[in-house]
Symmetry: C2
Subunit: 336 residues, 2 copies
């Protein structure tokens, strides 16, 4: 099956650019409810599986042992903006656990949010690993390593006890066993390629755990609860993950680099996984919102609450409307 055209970017009266996309919708038992494009081909979910990468943190008892609350757990699932609310919380968590920022192996990049980077520059603060959008996940992996009595310095390695527990959790939740050989993610952790239909099932289980042992189901529920209770921790100002879970707190959603999104609907226990084939965020966001809307997942959301995301006008620098991002109807027909 060809990847269908998913998102059109217009200028004036013409299409300027086009994105292709794939999307799967499944229930928690793994039944595929809708599929657009080759959904059995593996994609790298990247940061979209952070909620599952946080399972060892919860299941090992490390979360509670390190004196964390639900906001810390949400931050362990985050691709955060590097705002003060994110970095101060990661640093406090590390300190409580007797760790330092120097233990983070993710490397540093400037805060994702321009205003947060401006604040960093104004304060003459160098770019350090805590600003990395993944620093919450890494803090969680470090305290998990400590709780397991495993080495701290090698926590990124594929055969480290923390990563082996992530691998185990992913195999059970996605139903892909064994998982293919992983690549390496932007922050250094293993990044497993997984088919979109299996990721949709995983997203469904994040929304409403089914077919899992009770302790794992409880851990997943706790993770989903933390994300929807603290959406600002999962991404931050101006970001779709945060705005979406604030506007529709029955949705658990997480983005991943290169145009990936996972979302679970706690109302019906269905999950969605999608990938913009070219990796574009604007396409993934538009596909996500248009598809959720078509499926009724956004019924009850305050009109306009998500207007700055997805299908929206394109403004030029001076603020004039010069084009539009829109999702092709033939793409959405696959969800009918």
């Amino acid at each position: 099956m060809r990847d269908p055209v998913a998102v059109l970017v217009t200028r004036g009266d013409r299409v300027e650019s086009r994105h292709l996309g794939r999307l799967a919708v499944a229930d928690g038992r793994g039944r595929l409810l809708a599929a657009i494009g080759d959904t059995d081909e593996a994609v790298f979910p990247r940061s979209a599986i952070k909620p599952f990468q946080a399972l060892p943190l919860v299941e090992s008892g490390a979360l509670d042992a390190s004196g964390c609350d639900a906001a810390d757990l949400a931050l362990a699932c985050a691709s955060h903006n590097g705002e003060e609310i994110h970095i101060s919380r990661v640093l406090a968590w590390l300190e409580r656990a007797g760790l330092t920022e120097g233990d983070l192996r993710c490397g540093g990049h400037p805060p994702l949010l321009p205003a947060a980077d401006a604040a960093r520059l104004k304060a003459d603060r160098p770019v350090t690993p805590v600003f990395n959008n993944c620093s919450g996940k890494h803090a969680g992996m470090l305290v998990t390593a400590r709780a397991l009595g495993a080495p701290i310095e090698s926590y990124l390695e594929r055969d480290h006890p923390v990563q082996r527990r992530v691998d185990d959790a992913l195999r059970e939740i996605t139903g892909i066993d064994p998982l293919p050989v992983p690549g390496t993610d932007g922050c250094g952790v293993p990044s497993w390629p997984i088919p979109l239909d299996a990721l949709a099932r995983a997203a469904a289980r994040l929304a409403m755990p089914k077919g899992l042992p009770p302790s794992r189901a409880a851990a997943l529920t706790r993770i989903g609860d933390a994300m929807v209770a603290h959406p600002e921790m999962v991404a931050g100002s101006g970001r779709l993950c945060s705005a979406l879970m604030r506007a529709a707190p029955w949705i658990v959603a997480k983005t991943g680099a290169e145009g990936v999104y996972l979302a679970g609907n706690r109302r019906n226990g269905h999950g969605m996984a999608l990938k913009a084939v070219d990796g574009a965020t604007r396409a993934a966001e538009a596909m996500l919102l248009a598809s959720m809307s078509r499926l009724g997942w956004l019924d009850g959301v305050e009109p306009g609450a998500l207007a700055r995301f997805g299908e929206k006008p394109i403004l030029n620098v001076a603020g004039a409307k010069v084009g539009r991002i829109l999702v092709e109807l033939a793409f959405l027909d696959g969800l009918a």
Copy 2:
């Protein structure tokens, strides 16, 4: 004809993302030498046609009347980084012409180069229109308006004498007459949709003007000379346009938003125009360099001079090699 897969982005041992592309190569008489994808479909060239938008500036005498040198002319063709060398020159030019930054109608955005934006923040300088990557083009249009005795405040409008002269120049150089109804560019000027094969012919004429009246040919030559003599003005630090014209001063190249590139080869008078269908810069840059290399346009370039662009390793935040950007061979076969 389907748009062929042009650029693959890999992670580990797999393809993570894919870009489609179109490309045309032509000579200055308009003969199509190679075509990949639908090259007779119009695309918005965006800033890639800035060298042609600068023709009224040269042809009207406004460039010389405003005391400009070749570096100013290169800046009029630029999508610049907002570095000090760019903004100081635009401001000086406006002042010489009795204009102010307030006359620029392009709107302001933070400098494209993060280090230039950091310098702006450190200096507590607000974002103003001079930082807009198009401010050199707008300065050029303003002084052209003044030289023509035309209104200053309406220079962006489609029927303003400056834009009518741009339209005239584009019709002659591309051979598309009349041009379709324009959209509006990011900086507010008209943005005409033009087929890639016509844009390739225009790029060829920028490299080596043929089939044009002598005065227009001389103006185009002067523009191409200015760009290759001052590549740092056309873009700036870390940017492909600048690095390419420095490494291969027989190439005249200009990028445009949404994955467009035009390049002319002054050795053989051929021109190339390409578009990444999804608008991705990484895809456009990889297509450009791989195609120019395949055609021999880069013969004699110092090895490694362009290694940070195009087909290259993807490093993660900590600096480890985790993937690769590469151009699909089947795409390049279209150029054989």
